[in-house]
Amino acid sequence: MNKRRVVITGVGTVNPCGIGKKEFWNSIDQNISGIEKITRFDTTNTPIKIAGQINDLDISKYVVKRTMVKTDTFTHYALAATKMALADAAIDISQENSNRCGVFIGNNSGGWEICERGFKELYNDGPEYVNPWQATAWFPTAAQGYISIEHGIKGFSKTFIADRVSGASALYFGLQSIINGKNDLALIGGTEAPLSPFGTICYHESGELSISTDITRASLPFDENSTGIVLGEGSTILVLEEYEKALQRKATIYGELTGWAMTVGNAKDSSSLEKCMNKALVKSGKTSKEIGLIVPEGNGNVVSDKRELTAIKKIFGDQIEIITPKKLTGHLYGASTPTDILTALLVMQEEKIPNSIYKNLEYKEDFPRQREINSILVNASSRKGVNLSFVLENIN
């Protein structure tokens, strides 16, 4: 039996830089930031003042009303991105494939708006007034559950909570479910909606977030003047498919996932991240020289960025080009790696690099950007030292 291969055949996203892949690409191509002053709630008494915020999303276009009232925003985002991704892949989940299709989602801590609502109901009105959807709307697996119900998906599926690598974990296990033959198809991605008073306080207490009020100077990956991570919200869902199956149905293939690795180690020392990138390269059969671009964890936390840059320099030298979409979206946590993968796929498809890169440790805008890139490395790393690396290849 030939080794099974995994390709990406559909994408969907709602994030601070756009609803849908076109709007998103337009924003990152033109270096247009989705970070702004938080208007979702009054931030007078809470520490985080700016964030990557989604505006102008008409959720009723994607989620039926009866589901909407029973679910939190983080599930709404995931359902919207899923609908787009399935449409983009032009695939229907049917009786035929539903048992071999899975859902793999990264999400941190579930629904923050419903969490606060539940506490308010409990303490102001009493336990008998807590809404009946609290249990199923709050917990992180709600997105997986509702996606599976809405689309009739019955295959092996899981939800991951692992800080900044929640979405990367979902991708790692989702793609392996196809490699190992458990699934032929998988919706993988992440979703996050932390923009509530309690949610932003929680993330702030991680000690890694920026409390800056200057939207132009806040999210500065790899910049020594960075004030920390800027929080963002949104969801990206990717359709992963077994290669032969994708060929059979003449699907449009964005790219192939040829390398993947996960390691854990000291969060200040770069060695476990180096090991992770090397393992992913070995798996993909690529040398570091064949990698044309890196989409890093690069999140604006000075310690994390310094560690990653050290690791990248050791393996790839000074000349490798790095793009940092988190500069524009903020950190989407559970949705961050799926969004980075999406960015990488769009770069390969458009044969164009977004209008800001890091090269030779320098940030650059306005440079010749049109070029064919066939192999991209995507990194993710968590605050306590878990690393994931993926190699994407253009096989068209």
């Binding site: 008494n45 809470t46 520490p47 539903s98 048992n99 941190n108 801590s109 969490c115 606060e116 539940g118 506490f119 409990l122 303490y123 102001n124 009493g126 336990p127 807590v130 609290q134 249990a135 199923t136 917990f139 992180p140 697996t141 709600a142 559950g145 509702y146 599976s148 119900i149 009739g152 998906i153 019955k154 295959g155 092996f156 599926s157 899981k158 939800t159 991951f160 909570i161 692992a162 800080d163 974990s169 296990f173 392996q176 008073p197 309690f198 306080i201 929680c202 993330y203 702030h204 207490e205 991680s206 000690g207 996960m262 390691t263 854990v264 476990s272 090991k275 306590k384 030292g385 878990v386």
Partner: protein, 429 residues
């Protein structure tokens, strides 16, 4: 070492458990076989005026009893209970497996942990503190890192990885009441794939707080059964009326057989197969015909190259809700046909309630107890037969039986069903 050359076999070589009926595995098994329930009335639940008033709690837990002085103990101490339980069970499992920081190659060891709702009690307390007992809007005060960590289900795994210098995969899942079994299944698959030789699979739950009681009570999930408090979890009984919420943590060391044999590890059992799916039907309700669960049982049998007659014990999800126990019974009848009536089936939840993610991992440990002691623990307080639930649930008293192959089932919110099959270790599979 001829076996395992062509297909990697995965065995269990370490057990850690923090449960209401025992913080050590021997105590846990002894109490299970005696049929003793640890469920009690909870004054807080009574005071809240909700319908259900019983739970099952960990008693006398002190992390100092499990962890030596040092940075891990220091770091775990200030964290949410589920983190403390998880770390303690992890340390116990590793000790039980004779794995220390320097006895094993860290690159060969990975971790998958799980929890359904993580540090909810800590989060609730912080909410109260920042909102004048819930009366006002939130006003920020510095809380500290433990707030973020309380939501971070991966935290126990990370602490253990750093302490023991394990450097392979490390992640955590949150798939509710199937999560413990899922952590085992995914660890088993990771070893089978050859990416890792030893996995620490964990599940930890400490959900006992007002918001949990209120949210589960309002949807009538919690037990309102009549009778003495300790009898109110009575799976498969005609008068069952909801599950009893509980807490606890479990952790298993899973290991590639060759690796275990090479280091002379104690082998408690073998993981034969694992399967999991979505019913794609409803977040909490179950469809009438039990097909999704039948499918996952059949998948697990196929994956393990087993037939129905190989299974001689089932540790059931048996949550004591009207719906689950009937659904599960129907699934067993459909998957096992006539044999369903012969196989002893019992529910650990009859004695220690339902600790969400960790419940299914405790079910696996119960099954391992059956391998070792040649006994099947009873379904306690199953006194009044339900004509629709008419299988052999080992009511009330322990059953003496040599168990060779046991199946563990779990179902949970989100419409997930998971099944694992475990076998008493023998050289030739």
């Amino acid at each position: 070492m001829r076996v395992g050359v062509f297909m990697k076999r995965v065995v269990i070589t370490g057990i850690g458990i923090i449960a209401p009926n025992g913080n050590r595995k021997e105590e846990y098994w002894n109490n299970l076989f005696s049929g003793k329930s640890f469920i009690k009335e909870d004054p807080l639940m009574v005071n809240m005026g909700i319908n259900s008033t019983v739970n099952c709690t960990i008693n006398d837990f002190n992390i100092d009893d499990f962890l030596p002085k040092g940075s891990l103990r220091q770091e775990a101490k200030g964290q949410a209970d589920f983190i403390q339980y998880g770390v303690a069970a992890g340390v116990e499992a590793l000790k039980d497996s004779a794995i220390s920081r320097n006895s094993i190659c860290g690159d060969d060891v990975g971790l998958i942990f799980s929890s359904a709702i993580g540090g909810t009690p800590t989060i609730e307390k912080i909410y109260r503190d920042l909102s004048n007992q819930g009366k006002n809007d939130l006003v920020y005060q510095a809380v500290g890192e433990h707030f973020y960590n309380a939501g971070m289900i991966n935290y126990p795994a990370i602490l253990l990885a750093n302490e023991y210098n394990f450097t392979n995969i490390c992640t955590s899942i949150s798939t509710g009441c199937t999560a413990g079994l899922d952590a085992i299944g995914m660890s088993y698959e990771a070893i089978k794939s050859g990416d890792v030789k030893v996995m620490l699979a964990g599940a930890s739950e400490a959900p006992l707080t007002e918001i949990t009681y209120a949210t589960l009570d309002i949807i009538n999930a919690l037990s309102v059964a009549k009778g003495e408090p300790h009898t109110r979890s009575r799976p498969f009984d005609k008068t069952r009326a909801g599950f009893v919420i509980s807490e606890g943590s479990a952790c298993l060391v899973l290991e590639e057989l060759g690796h275990a044999l090479a280091r002379n590890a104690t082998i408690y059992g073998e993981v034969l197969s694992y399967a999991s799916n979505n019913n794609a039907y409803h977040m909490t309700n179950l469809s009438g015909d039990a097909t999704p669960m039948v499918n996952v049982i059949k998948q697990a049998l196929t994956e393990g190259e087993l037939t129905t007659s190989d299974i001689d014990y089932i540790n059931a999800h048996g949550s004591s809700t009207k719906q689950n126990d009937l659904y599960e019974t129907n699934a067993f009848k459909s998957a096992f046909a006539k044999e369903a009536y012969q196989i002893p089936i019992s529910s650990t939840k009859s004695m220690i309630g339902h600790s969400l993610s960790s419940a299914s991992m405790m079910g696996v440990i119960s099954t391992i107890g059956s391998f070792i002691y040649e006994k099947v623990h009873p379904t306690a307080h199953l006194e009044i037969a339900d004509e629709s639930c008419d299988l052999n649930y080992v009511p009330q008293n322990v059953l003496k039986k040599k168990v060779k192959t046991g199946m563990v089932t779990a179902s949970g919110f989100g419409g997930i069903h998971s099944v694992g099959v475990f076998r008493k270790y023998q050289e030739k599979r």
